[in-house]
C-alpha cells in the first residue's frame, strides 16, 4: 500500500519493519526526523526495541557496537559532523566485522557551517571498511535499508545507507512499505556466531601484531569484494519478493549507443534523468549510470557499463581539495585498465546544498565536448564571487 511519507519517516518505518533489538542515535540535522520518528514509534508501542538516546554520535555508534557484539540487531543514523565524530568507532565496528546498519543523511561538513546536502561526510569515512550504498529516491532508501540488514548479516560487514539530506530526508513521496510479515519472512533472524556469550566466552577487539595485521586487512578487502555478489543477490531476491529492485550495484539507462555517459550517486541521478529526458534533443544521446554501491566499488560492473563510450562525466558531490573529485578519481583509476576507456570529465556539483537544476544537464554535455574544459572543476562555482587572489 502506498503512503505519502516524508523520507525520514519512511526510513523510521522501514527500520521498524526489520525488528532491530537496539537503536542508538543522537540528533543532527538533517537526520533528526529519522530519530524523532523512531522515538515516536517506540513511544506509541509500534516499535519494540531498546532505543538509547545517547549523549553524542560517538556514543551512538559505540552503543550500536556493543549491542552488535552481543548478537543483537543494531541500528543508528547520523549525518555530517556526526559521521566524523563517529569515525573512530566506524573503523572499529568494521574491523571487528560486526553486523549493523546505519543511515547517513548526507550533509556537508563544517567549516563553514552548512546544514545542507553533499557527500563530504560519508566520503570522509569511505576507508572505514563499511559497505556504502546510495539511494536515489526515498523508495530506494526504504528498500535498501531492509536489504542492508540482510547484507550485513550475510557479509558480517556493517552497511551504511546514504541518502541525500533534505533532498530525500525531508521530501514527501508516495512510498510502498512492505508489510511486517513479509519483511520478517524475507529477513532471517540474526545469528551471529561470534557473539559475546557467557556460555562460549570469546574475546573481541584484540591486539594484533604485525605478524597478522596484513592478513586482517586482506581478509577485510576480500570480504568487501565478495560482498558485491551479496549486494546484487539481495536486491534480486528483494525484487522477486516485493516486485521492486533498488539498483543492484549500479544501473545503466539511456541510449545504449550513446558516446557520452554520466556517472552519479544519490538524488543527483534523478536530476540527471530528468535533464536527459528534457534536453535529449539539444544535448544528444547519453547513457546514465547510477552508482548504488560505492563501497565495495563495483569496478568490473563499471567497466562493463562504460563500454563504447567516448566521454564520461563523473559527478561528485564532494571534493578532495588538492586532488579534485573523489568519485571521479576513483572511476578514472578503475577505468585506467579498461581498453578504449572514455575520456573523463569530473565535476563537483551541489556542494553544501547548492541546487542542481536540470538545466545544468546540457551545459555538462557541452563541456564534455569542449577539448579545453578542465579535467576537474567545481562546475557550478561562480568564480566572480571570489576575490581574484582566491580564485
Amino acid at each position: 500500500m502506498r503512503e505519502a511519507l516524508e523520507g525520514s519517516q519512511a526510513i523510521a518505518r522501514a527500520v521498524a519493519l526489520c525488528d532491530p533489538d537496539v537503536i542508538a542515535a543522537y540528533p543532527i540535522t538533517p537526520q533528526t526526523h529519522i530519530v524523532e520518528n523512531i522515538s515516536k514509534l517506540v513511544a506509541e508501542g509500534d516499535l519494540h526495541t531498546e532505543f538509547v538516546s545517547v549523549e553524542s554520535e560517538f556514543s551512538a555508534a559505540s552503543v550500536a557496537l556493543g549491542a552488535a557484539a552481543t548478537g543483537a540487531r543494531a541500528y543508528t543514523a547520523t549525518a555530517s559532523q556526526g559521521v566524523l565524530l563517529m569515525a573512530e568507532v566506524l573503523f572499529n565496528i568494521a574491523g571487528m566485522r560486526l553486523p549493523m546498519v546505519m543511515t547517513v543523511a548526507n550533509r556537508a561538513v563544517s567549516a563553514p557551517l552548512s546544514i545542507w546536502n553533499d557527500h563530504a561526510d560519508s566520503m570522509a569515512v569511505r576507508d572505514a571498511g563499511w559497505i556504502q550504498l546510495h539511494a536515489t529516491s526515498n523508495q530506494e532508501a526504504v528498500d535498501t535499508t531492509i536489504q542492508a540488514f540482510r547484507i550485513t548479516q550475510d557479509t558480517e560487514l556493517p552497511v551504511m545507507v546514504c541518502m541525500d539530506g533534505f533532498i530525500l530526508t525531508h521530501t514527501l513521496e508516495p512510498i510502498d512499505l512492505p508489510s511486517h510479515e513479509d519483511v520478517r519472512a524475507w529477513l532471517p533472524p540474526l545469528e551471529f556466531d561470534r557473539k559475546l556469550d557467557p556460555a562460549d566466552p570469546k574475546s573481541m577487539g584484540m591486539l594484533v601484531t604485525p605478524d597478522f595485521f596484513p592478513e586482517v586487512r586482506h581478509s577485510h578487502h576480500s570480504a568487501m569484494q565478495k560482498a558485491l555478489a551479496t549486494i546484487e543477490q539481495a536486491d534480486a531476491d528483494f525484487e522477486s519478493a516485493f516486485g521492486r529492485a533498488s539498483g543492484g550495484l549500479l544501473t545503466v539507462e539511456g541510449d545504449p549507443e550513446a558516446k557520452i555517459g554520466l556517472v552519479a550517486m544519490g538524488s543527483t541521478v534523478g536530476t540527471m534523468r530528468a535533464g536527459m529526458a528534457h534536453f535529449q534533443a539539444e544535448a544528444g544521446p547519453a547513457r546514465l549510470i547510477n552508482l548504488r554501491a560505492y563501497r565495495p566499488f563495483p569496478s568490473q560492473a563499471l567497466r562493463d557499463a562504460v563500454r563504447g563510450l567516448d566521454h564520461l562525466i563523473v559527478i561528485d558531490r564532494a571534493i578532495s581539495p588538492g586532488l579534485g573529485g573523489i568519485l571521479g578519481s576513483e572511476v578514472a583509476a578503475v577505468l585506467s585498465s579498461a581498453p578504449d576507456a572514455p575520456r573523463i570529465l569530473n565535476v563537483a556539483l551541489g556542494l553544501g546544498g547548492r541546487d542542481i537544476p536540470e538545466t545544468l544537464y546540457p551545459d555538462l554535455l557541452a563541456a564534455v565536448r569542449d577539448p579545453d574544459a578542465p579535467a576537474f572543476s567545481v562546475f557550478d562555482a561562480d568564480l566572480k564571487k571570489l576575490a581574484p587572489e582566491d580564485r
Binding site: 533489538d21 556514543s59 552481543t70 543494531a74 571487528m96 556469550d197 574475546s203 584484540m206 601484531t209
Partner: protein
C-alpha cells in the same frame, strides 16, 4: 564411512585405548581447574610484575563472573590480556576504543534487555579512559541509568603509553608529562574528585576500593552486582613501573594510600555518603610517598619539596575530616580489621567485612 579396523589401528599406534567415538573423554581436572574460585582472568596475561591492575581486575571478575560480559577501554588491562590469539579472559569480553567503554557497555546492556537476558554488563577502564577521555560516555551511561557496573582501575596516569599524567595523577607526582625539574615539582594540579562527580549523577551506588583490601573490594563488587542500575567502583591499583616502587610493594603501597587518607575508601548511595572504611592508625603521608620514585623529588633538599609534602598531607587531612575517616577504637571493618586474616583465611574475630555505617 568409518573404517573400524583403521581406527583401531590408529588408536593402537597413538596409545589411545579403543573407545566408541561418542564416549566422552574422562574429565581430568588439573589442580588449576580444581581451585575453589572462578578463574575469570586466567594466567599467562602479559602484565608487569606486581601489576595492581591485573590483580584488581582478577578480584573483580572472580566474584562478578561468570554470567557477565565486559566492555573494556583501551589501556594496559586490554593490551596485556588480549594479544591475539591468546586471551586471558574466561568471560565474554570486548574491547572497542579508549573513550567508549561506557557506551559500548550501554549497548551490551540494551541488547541484554532487548533479549530478556540477565547477564550483567561490566565496563572496565583505567583512569585515563574514565577520568579523562571516556568521561563523557561514562556520564551518559550513568544518566541513562544503564544496568552496568563500571569499574575504574585507577593507577593514576596513562601507563599504557608510558606514564603520562592524567587528571587522576596526584598532585606533585612526576610523570613523563609532568616531570620534576628546576621550574616544576611534578604535576601542578590536583587529582580530580571523580567520586563526587559520579555520585552527583544520583546513581544507586558509587564506591572506592583498593587492591590492598580484597575482602572489602569484593564485598563492594557483590553489592554492586545486586543493583539493577548503574554502579561505579574505582579501585586504587598501584603500577610498580609508573609509580616506581618495588614490585613486591604493590599491596603495601596501596594500603598506605588508604591508611594515610590520600585514597579514602568510601561508599555513596544516591549521592549521599553511607559508608567509610575507618583508619585504625592514621599514617603520615610521607610513609606512603617514600617508597615511590614518582615522589622522590619531594624528599630532596629543595624548600619546595617540604611545601609539596605539606600540601599532600593537608589533602589527606582534608579527606580524613570530610569523610570522617578516623576510627574510634578497634573495628572489624577498619583498615586493621578488614585486613586481618586467621587460619584458613578467617579473621580471628567475626569480621563480616561490613563497613561502619555513617550515621
Amino acid at each position: 564411512m568409518v573404517d573400524d579396523a583403521r581406527l583401531a589401528d590408529l588408536r593402537r599406534k597413538f596409545g589411545r585405548a579403543p573407545a566408541a567415538p561418542s564416549e566422552p573423554a574422562p574429565a581430568k581436572r588439573t589442580p588449576r581447574e580444581a581451585q575453589p574460585r572462578f578463574r575469570g582472568l586466567e594466567s599467562g596475561h602479559r602484565a608487569c610484575q606486581g601489576c595492581g591492575e591485573a590483580l584488581a581486575a582478577r578480584l573483580v571478575v572472580e566474584c562478578a563472573g561468570p554470567d557477565v560480559m565486559i566492555a573494556n577501554a583501551t589501556g594496559c588491562l586490554e593490551v596485556f590480556t588480549t594479544a591475539w590469539p591468546e586471551s586471558a579472559w574466561r568471560v565474554p569480553w570486548a574491547h572497542s576504543l579508549f573513550e567508549n567503554a561506557a557506551a559500548v557497555a550501554s549497548g551490551m546492556e540494551a541488547a541484554m534487555k532487548a533479549k530478556g537476558r540477565n547477564t550483567k554488563v561490566l565496563a572496565f577502564g583505567g583512569d585515563g579512559g574514565t577520568y579523562d577521555i571516556g568521561f563523557q560516555a561514562l556520564s551518559g551511561m550513568l544518566e541513562r541509568y544503564h544496568n552496568v557496573l563500571y569499574v575504574c582501575y585507577d593507577n593514576e596516569a596513562y601507563m599504557n603509553t608510558g606514564i603520562q599524567r592524567s587528571s587522576s595523577t596526584p598532585h606533585a607526582a612526576t610523570t613523563t608529562t609532568s616531570p620534576a625539574g628546576k621550574e616544576r615539582m611534578g604535576k601542578r594540579h590536583l587529582k580530580k574528585d571523580l567520586l563526587s562527580i559520579i555520585a552527583a549523577h544520583h546513581i544507586p551506588y558509587t564506591a572506592s576500593a583498593s587492591v590492598a583490601f580484597p575482602q572489602d573490594l569484593q564485598r563492594k563488587v557483590r553489592h554492586a552486582m545486586g543493583i539493577d542500575g548503574p554502579a561505579f567502583l574505582v579501585v586504587h591499583s598501584p603500577c610498580p613501573l609508573g609509580w616506581r616502587h618495588d614490585s613486591r610493594l604493590t599491596i603495601d603501597v596501596a594500603r598506605k594510600a588508604v591508611e594515610c587518607g590520600l585514597f579514602p575508601l568510601v561508599e555513596l548511595e544516591r549521592g549521599a555518603l553511607t559508608n567509610v572504611m575507618p583508619i585504625r592508625e592514621v599514617r603520615p603521608v610521607a610513609d606512603y610517598l617514600k617508597p615511590q620514585g614518582r615522589f622522590a623529588h619531594l624528599f630532596s633538599d629543595d624548600v619546595r619539596a617540604q611545601e609539596e609534602r605539606d600540601h599532600l598531607q593537608a589533602l589527606a587531612d582534608y579527606n580524613i575530616q570530610v569523610y570522617g575517616l578516623t576510627g574510634e577504637g578497634q573495628d572489624p571493618a577498619d583498615t586493621g580489621g578488614a585486613a586481618a586474616v586467621g587460619r584458613s583465611g578467617r579473621a580471628p574475630r567475626g569480621n563480616d567485612g561490613a563497613a561502619r555505617r555513617v550515621s
